[in-house]
């Protein structure tokens, strides 16, 4: 059997799909637009809920990939054409045949500068959750632009999630628990730091998430129910934030050393082009539309095109791995019946 499957995107979902397909005996062409595999998770420091290092998970995935997977790095898929019942996938000027396609293109972090009132890209000490992860990876603790250790930090939930004003009306699912995880990590790295989480609801849906939330409270993280309205910069690059404490119905002003924005998961703009080639349309939120949300969550409406991971909507790693297994199995069923 020398059938070929093109897997587009080398994050968690793409890696797991490739592993499973290889095990089923298929030749896999894996396309990754970046220079290394692992996607967003690969750039993360530690993972919720147990705070293991992300590299553990990614290394485990990459080590299981064998030689029947052709890995194309820095390979942006420009065009997909159908030809005699199979596909021609063009990346970097080279076209390769594929009998089936699995979209694992993932997501992009919400571009925080779209929420201009939060001051990202305008004020120095307004950073994103991804940038905080990098600080943890590089220095083991958050650092302000001047290199000082911040003493007062505000974590803002739902940035680019559940927000119609920036066209992201959906919940990104993973940011609540990420915020709680990061709040604990800050407290552990800087025990004297005051940490405030500004949330709308705390959606602790997964195993161990609620425990994490309790741990954060025990460690002295302050939770304030209310959305941030605006920020401005004060002397010494400190940040003045204005919000409303909706539990006490009072407006609130606070000057902090650092603001961390929990950026949500947004549809990746480059996926749209691929969908067009395949004559597929995105769902209401802009992610890839699956064939049947309940029963065929890794099928698309296009024959021979399957999907897994966060390109279908906000996902955690476990969801992505599950979807990858399912997609691989569906591809197998499709190719053996063909």
């Amino acid at each position: 059997m020398n059938k070929i499957v093109a897997v587009i995107g080398g994050g968690v979902a793409g890696l797991e799909t490739s592993i499973q397909l290889e095990k089923l005996g298929y030749k896999v062409n894996l396309y990754e637009k970046d220079s290394e595999l692992g996607g967003h998770a690969g750039k993360w420091d530690r993972l919720f809920p147990n705070r293991r290092h992300a590299t553990e998970v990614i290394d485990s995935l990459t080590s299981r990939i064998k030689d029947k997977v052709q890995i194309n790095l820095v390979a942006t898929v420009n065009q997909i054409k159908r030809e005699n019942g199979s596909f021609l996938v063009e990346a970097n000027g080279k076209s390769q045949k594929a009998d089936a396609i699995v979209l694992t293109t993932g997501f992009e972090l919400f571009p925080a500068s779209k929420k201009e009132e939060y001051g990202y890209g305008i004020f120095d000490n307004v950073i994103t959750s991804a940038e905080l992860e990098k600080m943890f990876a590089d220095h083991g603790k958050p650092q302000s632009t001047t290199g000082k250790t911040p003493e007062k930090i505000a974590i803002i939930h739902c940035v680019g999630s559940r927000d119609e004003k920036v066209n992201r009306p959906y919940c990104s699912k993973v940011c609540c628990v990420t915020a709680v995880k990061q709040a604990i990590e800050i407290k552990e790295a800087i025990p004297t730091a005051e940490v405030y989480c500004f949330y709308m609801d705390l959606r602790m849906f997964g195993p161990g998430y609620e425990d994490l939330y309790k741990e954060a409270q025990v460690k002295g993280v302050n939770f304030i129910r209310g959305r941030l309205s605006e920020t401005s910069e004060m002397e010494g690059s400190r940040v003045l934030i204005k919000a409303e404490d909706t539990l006490s119905s009072k407006p609130l002003k606070m000057t902090v050393d650092m603001v961390v924005l929990m950026v949500g998961m947004s549809p990746l703009p480059s996926t749209e082009k691929i969908l067009k080639d395949l004559e597929l349309s995105p769902n209401n939120d802009g992610f890839v539309q699956v064939k049947d949300y309940h029963l065929e969550p890794t099928h698309t409406k296009a024959e021979g095109v399957f999907v897994a991971g966060a390109c279908t909507g906000p996902n955690n790693i476990t969801d992505s791995v599950n979807a990858a297994h399912s997609a691989a199995l569906e591809v197998h069923k499709y190719l053996t019946s063909k």
Binding site: K114, E164, N167, E230, L240
Partner: protein, 615 residues
């Protein structure tokens, strides 16, 4: 019949016309007296003083230009203008010529109004009289002129696009009946005159030919009286309809033009002047196409024509009052010049949602002492890059400024005003006036056109108020800021409150042209489109707002601009939320870029120099 005999001719068929005319004349005079009698003393004085001033001939000229020639409609669409003009001016000329004709042939005798209208009935032998041919020819020509307008009006009912209108007003039954009567008048006149001309070989080049032609196959003597009765009935019916239909606009618009010339305007509550304005609306429907709720969202039942109609007859529904972005585009295009914005604003005041002491809790803010007071406003605070760029420019120009609302501020009150919450707005305005006066500034600069509008209109501050685009231009003119022009292509979007609201169109353009090349969009200045972010409307969904914003942006980006510039933080925010790929920037950000470029160039020159030396 010898007309210059003592006997004034009469026939019963003139009765419908005469009764209708008497009715409408009394009604109009009664209404005019009622309206004017309830004006304030001040307004009455204005009329009295104006009556004997140059304003009266000016008003007469305007009546001629607008009510008869329909200049503004012409400017909009030639065919539409011609339709209105041929009906109004043509009919007017018919009346004038008819009167001249009768006066001429009766040797200057004053005749009852029905004589000139039905002159052909009473006098069959005009052609043989002196200048008879001239009069019959002219009268026929004028009738043809009016009929061409009627023809266009028929056509417009089926296809309005060639006349420049995508949407036309959906009229009520009584308006349709009146319209039918109006449409019948001139064809019936043609018929009656042609029948008469055929029977007596009279009439001009049209009526005579039609009459002669009909004579060949029709027993015209059977139609003779019937046709004159029908013509008289159509006229009489139309007159009776006038007070109850949109045709009340014909006499009322004349009164409105005079009153407006004498300096009477809408107050902050409804008055009988409002009723004059309401009755002056012809429901032409030009406002429908101007409204972006219609063109962008397909909402075509809440436009000003419907709002005004329901204001005139009963109470408009909440939906009608609220469904308006207060962008004032309808005000801009209204050929009658009705102050729709004020009427709607006053109607919105009917419901006051806030209590007398709703804002008691506000006392924590104090604006800092300053020479040049800079006020970012709420919207400015939601777009920090705007105030950051403005203040960076102030620094470069060495302006002694203070960012007075840096730590917070009270809302300027304009959003409340726009939604009719006058009392609440007043509370905020009073508090703000004290705070601003206490900061001791000699100049107030704001980045927000919404604040600038209310500061200018309602604050009565003793210091000059500048929008930042004006102040930055002032700094540039004083050579305190130097910009370097690049070949960047800029399209400027006029914000509603800055443009139509405050009439500031030129300064932002002048300023931007110091930084790059300006490309004008199709709808600019007075016709500028609303960004969709309007604070004047509360019943739009975010999706609907985004639709409006996207359409407006696509209009703006049509000239392939590198950047869409705006001078309002709310417009910037709205556009940015609708589009991910067009660059949108505030005027201050673009100007800061132009300054920095020149500074950068200096640096790069220095670097080059050092490179050369090292080599």
């Amino acid at each position: 019949m010898d007309l210059h005999a003592i006997q004034i001719p009469f026939h019963p068929f003139v009765l419908p016309f005469t009764i209708g005319l008497i009715f409408v004349a009394f009604y109009i005079i009664g209404k005019w007296i009622y309206w004017v009698s309830r004006f304030s003393w001040e307004d009455k004085k204005k009329i009295f003083v104006g009556l004997f001033s140059l304003k009266t001939p000016q008003a007469i000229w305007e009546v001629f230009m607008e009510s008869l020639l329909h200049r503004k409609v012409f400017q909009r669409n030639t065919l539409l203008g011609y339709m209105h003009m041929s009906l109004a001016f043509g009919w007017f000329l018919l009346i004038i010529m008819g009167n001249l004709e009768t006066r001429f042939f009766t040797h200057g005798r004053i005749n009852p109004p029905y004589i000139p209208i039905f002159f052909e009935f009473f006098e069959h032998n005009l052609v043989s009289l002196d200048y008879g041919r001239f009069f019959t020819f002219t009268m026929d020509l004028l009738l043809l002129f009016v009929l061409s307008g009627v023809g266009l009006a028929y056509f417009k009912r089926f296809r309005s696009k060639p006349l420049g209108m995508k949407n036309t007003t959906k009229h009520s039954t009584i308006d349709r009946l009146a319209l039918t009567a109006l449409w019948l008048i001139f064809p019936l006149r043609l018929l009656a005159e042609s029948v008469t001309a055929g029977l007596y070989d009279a009439g001009g080049f049209i009526t005579n030919s039609i009459g002669a032609f009909m004579m060949t196959f029709l027993p015209l003597h059977n139609f003779y009286y019937a046709s004159w009765w029908a013509y008289s009935f159509a006229l009489g019916a139309f007159f009776v309809f006038v007070p109850f239909t949109r045709y009340m606009h014909i006499p009322t618009e004349i009164l409105l033009i005079f009153l407006r010339k004498y300096g009477i305007a809408e107050k902050n509550i409804h008055s009988t002047y409002t009723q004059v304005e309401l009755s002056s609306c012809s429901r032409c429907g030009i406002c429908i196409d101007a409204c972006q709720l219609g063109s962008d969202l397909g909402i075509v039942s809440t436009q000003s024509t419907y709002f005004i109609k329901s204001m005139r007859y009963d109470k408009p529904s909440e939906m009608l009052v609220d469904s308006c972005m207060a962008c004032n585009r309808c005000d801009q295009v209204c050929p009658v010049g009705i102050d729709i914005a004020s009427i709607r604003a006053n109607e919105r005041k009917m419901i006051q949602l806030f209590q007398e002491n709703s804002y008691k809790y506000i006392n924590g803010y104090e604006y800092r002492k300053a020479k040049v007071a800079y006020f970012a406003g709420c919207m400015g605070h939601l777009t920090p890059s705007v105030y950051k760029a403005t203040l960076a420019l102030f620094e470069k120009a060495g302006v002694d400024y203070n960012f007075i609302d840096r730590d917070g501020s009270i809302c300027c009150g304009r959003p409340l005003q726009l939604t009719g919450q006058e009392d609440a707005a007043k509370q905020l305005i009073e508090k703000n006036i004290k705070l601003i006066e206490n900061c001791g500034a000699t100049v107030l600069v704001t980045s927000c056109p919404i604040c600038a509008k209310v500061f200018t209109d309602s604050y009565k501050l003793k210091i000059p108020i500048y929008h930042h685009s004006q102040y930055l231009l002032k700094l540039a003119k004083e050579s305190k800021l130097q910009f370097e022009k690049s070949d960047i292509q800029i399209t400027y979007h006029d914000p509603c409150e800055l443009g139509r609201g405050l009439g500031i169109y030129e300064e932002p353009r002048e300023l931007l042209s110091l930084a790059g090349n300006l490309i004008e969009s199709n709808n600019s200045r007075e016709n500028s489109l609303c960004c969709g972010g309007s604070l004047g409307i509360t019943n739009l969904t975010q999706e609907q707002r985004n639709t409006i914003a996207s359409i407006t942006l696509s209009e703006l980006a049509v000239g392939k601009a590198d950047v869409v510039a705006t001078a309002c933080p709310l417009c910037k925010k709205t556009f940015k939320s609708a589009s991910e790929d067009i660059r949108i920037a505030d005027i201050s950000e673009i100007m800061l870029g132009a300054v920095q470029k020149s500074a950068n160039k200096l640096i790069s020159k220095e670097v080059n120099k050092s490179v050369i030396i090292n080599n």
